[in-house]
């Protein structure tokens, strides 16, 4: 059941991205989609609108990059409550540190180990 919900929520979030790419003006690149998803995910999360999606969809809401935005926002909100203004600067990044470091390190490793295929 949780797998089905992950499929539906995750698929739905991707579908929205596809509609944006195909129906808006030409030139919306994957880069724009990534920037848009992380930002909108963080904003939705700040207004408490993303957590319900995570409750329903599990990984279906955390795997899309909007889920990364959600972690950033929730981390900041949590640490502000604990540490005050310093938390605004440390919270988001500590909550997502694993993912970001993984992205940079694995990304670099993969780039060093592999060559582009034809």
């Amino acid at each position: 059941m949780s797998l089905l919900m992950a499929f539906l929520v995750g698929g739905g979030l991707c579908l929205i991205g596809q509609l944006v790419m195909d129906l808006t003006k030409p030139g919306v690149s994957p880069g724009h989609i990534l920037v848009g998803y992380i930002t909108i995910g963080a904003l939705l999360s700040a207004f408490g609108l993303y957590q319900p999606l995570v409750d329903i969809g599990g990984a279906g809401a955390t795997v899309p990059l909007s889920g990364f935005g959600h972690s950033l926002a929730q981390g900041a909100i949590k640490e502000v409550a604990e540490k005050g203004w310093l938390g605004a600067f440390t919270g988001g990044i500590s909550a997502t540190a694993g993912g970001i470091t993984a992205a940079i390190v694995f990304g670099y490793l993969a780039a060093v180990l592999f060559d582009p295929k034809d």
């Binding site: 797998l3 992950a6 499929f7 539906l8 929520v9 995750g10 698929g11 739905g12 979030l13 991707c14 579908l15 991205g17 596809q18 509609l19 790419m21 195909d22 129906l23 994957p30 880069g31 989609i33 920037v35 998803y37 992380i38 930002t39 963080a42 904003l43 700040a46 599990g58 990984a59 279906g60 955390t62 795997v63 899309p64 990059l65 990364f68 950033l72 926002a73 900041a76 909100i77 640490e79 502000v80 409550a81 203004w85 938390g87 605004a88 988001g92 997502t96 694993g98 993912g99 993984a102 992205a103 694995f106 990304g107 670099y108 993969a110 780039a111 592999f114 060559d115 582009p116 295929k117």
Partner: protein, 156 residues
């Protein structure tokens, strides 16, 4: 303001041409693209869900399991990009392979591996952030602003 007749004529001509091109231009196969995006995006999330539930079953807290799931998905995205598979998936799945965090990993590895011949510092090292950089910038900035907004609300 104050456009001369020649410029106005040119603009009108360009506009008319734009209509002609729009009429002739083939449209993307929307239904097919959406179907692919939904199915592939959904399946990638199912893999994430399986990984997350596996870490929960090992006794990790839900929050740590989510972190581990993100990390694992990034690893897989980087690996499949390196193996030359992820771009073929992306050609079909469009947003279905961009929106998941594996797409973020792809956006890091793809430019990085192509700039190896320009060196490991300013080639790979710089190019890997060509898309990831703006993404992290907007994410971090949003997170700091949200934190500060929360701070203001706490004092009100």
């Amino acid at each position: 303001m104050g456009k001369n007749p020649e410029e106005l004529l040119k603009t009108a001509e360009q506009e008319e041409y734009h209509h002609l091109v729009n009429r002739m231009k083939p449209k993307p196969p929307l239904a097919q693209n959406c179907m692919w995006a939904f199915v592939v995006g959904g399946l990638i999330c199912v893999v994430g869900q399986i990984i997350m539930e596996y870490f929960i079953s090992l006794g990790y807290s839900r929050q740590d399991a989510v972190s581990l799931e993100s990390t694992s998905m990034i690893f897989l995205g980087a690996l499949f990009t390196g193996l030359g598979i992820y771009d073929n998936l992306g050609a079909k799945a469009g947003a279905g392979s961009v929106v998941p965090i594996t797409g973020f990993a792809n956006a890091i590895v793809a430019p990085a591996m192509e700039f190896k011949r320009e060196g490991y510092i300013f080639g790979v090292g710089a190019k890997m952030f060509s898309i990831a950089g703006p993404t992290l910038l907007f994410g971090f900035t949003a997170s700091v602003l949200i934190g500060l907004a929360k701070l203001i609300m706490l004092y009100l």
